[in-house]
């Protein structure tokens, strides 16, 4: 049972990590908790399902297209809602973020209706359900491996982008000091908007994976996932990308093991308790000491 619970936890933890990096990257560049991020995750699922059931696109194409749409949504969110408030008090932007979250949730309810929907039958490639590996009595399907693979690819890819590319360098510069970055010839607004796009694409990816894996999507699905991922980002040290990844995985595993070995009634409580305990002993989060360094090196 332990191995099975570990697998359960790693799957959901990987999903939390994908959403959490979005929170943390955006916090890194604009010091804003983007509460509408959970809604981008929800939109990802709905876009994918719409592409599959109305346009009849195959799973992988719909997957990519939905991610691109989420990236665009992320950019729009920044341009429409946050950019006009760039120089206003932080609280104004925070409230706008909450407002955008409510707005997007209701928009989705109007467009797609409020009741839960299944992921289109037969849309996910058939071999996804087949067992790929068996170890210690636990069957891992190709879908498990697909999610693990994407999580790993995201972690490595994101690190490469931030550390090795010009754009990653610009991101780090903006995170460190916007004025200096602008003086050095970096288009700050564009870097911020691109960061929103990247965060949106990853959030959308998480949404598609969850809706396909658990076979359900509904307009309010972003709320709980968003809160959990935000907790993961805080657990890892908000602003730190590796922290968010680790935070997501820790939270997911804590949740699965907590439900498996302690009480399932307090499953969510256990995961938040883990976060609170970490924050009490390491106030800046797991990678807290790195916050200042990450800001420099991000």
């Amino acid at each position: 049972m332990f191995l099975q619970q570990l697998v359960n936890g790693l799957i959901i933890g990987g999903i939390y990590a994908m959403i959490a990096v979005g929170y943390t990257m955006i916090y890194g560049v604009v010091q804003l908790i983007n509460f509408a991020h959970g809604e981008i995750y929800m939109l990802g699922a709905f876009f994918a399902v719409t592409f599959i059931s109305f346009l009849g696109l195959p799973f992988y194409v719909a997957f990519l297209l939905a991610m691109i749409c989420c990236a665009i949504c992320g950019m729009l969110l920044d341009v429409v809602a946050y950019r006009p408030l760039r120089n206003s008090p932080r609280l104004a932007a925070l409230i706008t973020a909450i407002g955008m979250s409510i707005f997007l949730q209701n928009l989705a309810m109007i467009i797609w209706g409020s009741r839960p929907k299944p992921f289109p039958h037969g849309a996910v490639p058939a071999y996804f359900e087949k067992t790929a590996v068996t170890f210690g009595g636990v069957n891992l399907s190709w879908f498990h491996l697909f999610i693990f693979g994407l999580t790993m690819a995201m972690m490595i890819g994101l690190n490469l982008i931030i550390k090795k590319t010009r754009w990653g360098k610009a991101m780090r510069a903006v995170a460190q000091n916007k004025t200096m970055a602008a003086l050095a010839g970096i288009n700050v607004n564009r870097v911020i908007t691109y960061t929103f796009a990247l965060a949106g694409a990853l959030g959308g990816m998480a949404g598609i994976l969850v809706s396909a894996y658990y076979n359900s999507l509904y307009p309010t699905m972003g709320y709980v996932a968003g809160v959990k991922a935000f907790a993961a980002a805080v657990l890892g040290g908000i602003g730190s990308v590796p922290g968010a990844m680790l935070g997501g995985v820790v939270l997911g595993v804590a949740e699965a093991l907590g439900a498996g070995y302690l009480s399932s009634l307090y499953r969510d409580g256990i995961s938040y308790a883990v976060m609170i305990i970490v924050i009490i002993f390491i106030p800046a989060g797991l990678f807290g000491k790195l916050i200042k360094e990450t800001k420099k090196s991000m």
Partner: protein, 380 residues
Amino acid sequence: MKNKRNFLIIGLALCFAIIFGMTTTVMAADTIRIGVASPFTGDLAGYGDNIKAGVSLKLKEINDAGGINGKKVELVWGDDLCAPKEAGTVASKFAADKSIVAVIGHLCSSATLAAMPIYVRAGMPTISPTSTNPTIGDVGKGWFFRNCYTDDFQGKYLAKEVVPKLLGKKKVAIFYENNDYAIGLKDSFVAGAKESGLEVTGAEAYVAKTTDFTPQLTKLLTAKPEAIFLCGYHPEGALIAGQARKLGFDGPLFGADGIDNADYIKIGGEATNNTYCTVPFLAESAGPAGQAFAKSFQETAGRDVDWMSANAYDCLGILADVIAKTGPDRKKIRDGLAAMNSEATGYKGVTGMTFFNEKGDCAKPAFVKMVKDGKFVPAQ
């Protein structure tokens, strides 16, 4: 300048008040207004659809026949999302509207439990087609009635009849939602299991709107149950069915009245095959009146009738009967409902004979449905 604007605003507000005030008084004069509270949007909108279809059919029949003593009936919808908080808002709205003389609802037990104190204070008679939690009668203080059975009965029926006899299973895992309906149901099932000698291999809880049930299921399945009790509502039930099958469980699943909804099969797909559930009404087992109702429901709604529609249909029928005798007055309607306390004074509807005990509860038989090849069919 500022004064002028204030005048304008006050003037406009007055105009609106007069217009709206007039319309409600005009409507109150020649119609009888009844509130219907259910989740019409949100995750459980599938339940609200059924309630709406059932009462609308009865409404049409009543009004086509000339209304109640010449007065047309009008329904006022209240969307409570099955949430106790929203139920309170809906109840306050209904209670404050003097033109509403009775309420059909609420649907979910948690919602009804939250709304009842408000109705009791306002003196509003309510009749729920679906709330099965046994404790509601105590909170209702004489203003609450229902034409469905309670979970005391339903949980024991599952434990004594359905699982050992129909399914022929002995080891059961319980997976229940953390709400008033499911906890009440679980408790009565556990009590019944003790009496019938069933072994409960484990009981785990979940919170509404969860998508990942695998940690709890993994734990439940290590005890090797022969059947899993889906103790909750259909959206989560459908997901649990899917995830249980993925984890390799191929035995029967069973639930209670909360599972009987077309959305259960729509969301869960193939995984929902081999699911059993108890319901208070089954068209196939109903008498001639029930059969005729099932046919006209099929014609107007374009789908098979379900137990919630049937109960809602009868709720409006009961209210119409009582109002015809007592007139549209909240207190008198309550007294009229309370007087239906024996088979002789009861109401014979499509769901059989309904009469209430002092708590507003009624005794109804349970039927069993099952999912076979992607469709609900009678199991017996």
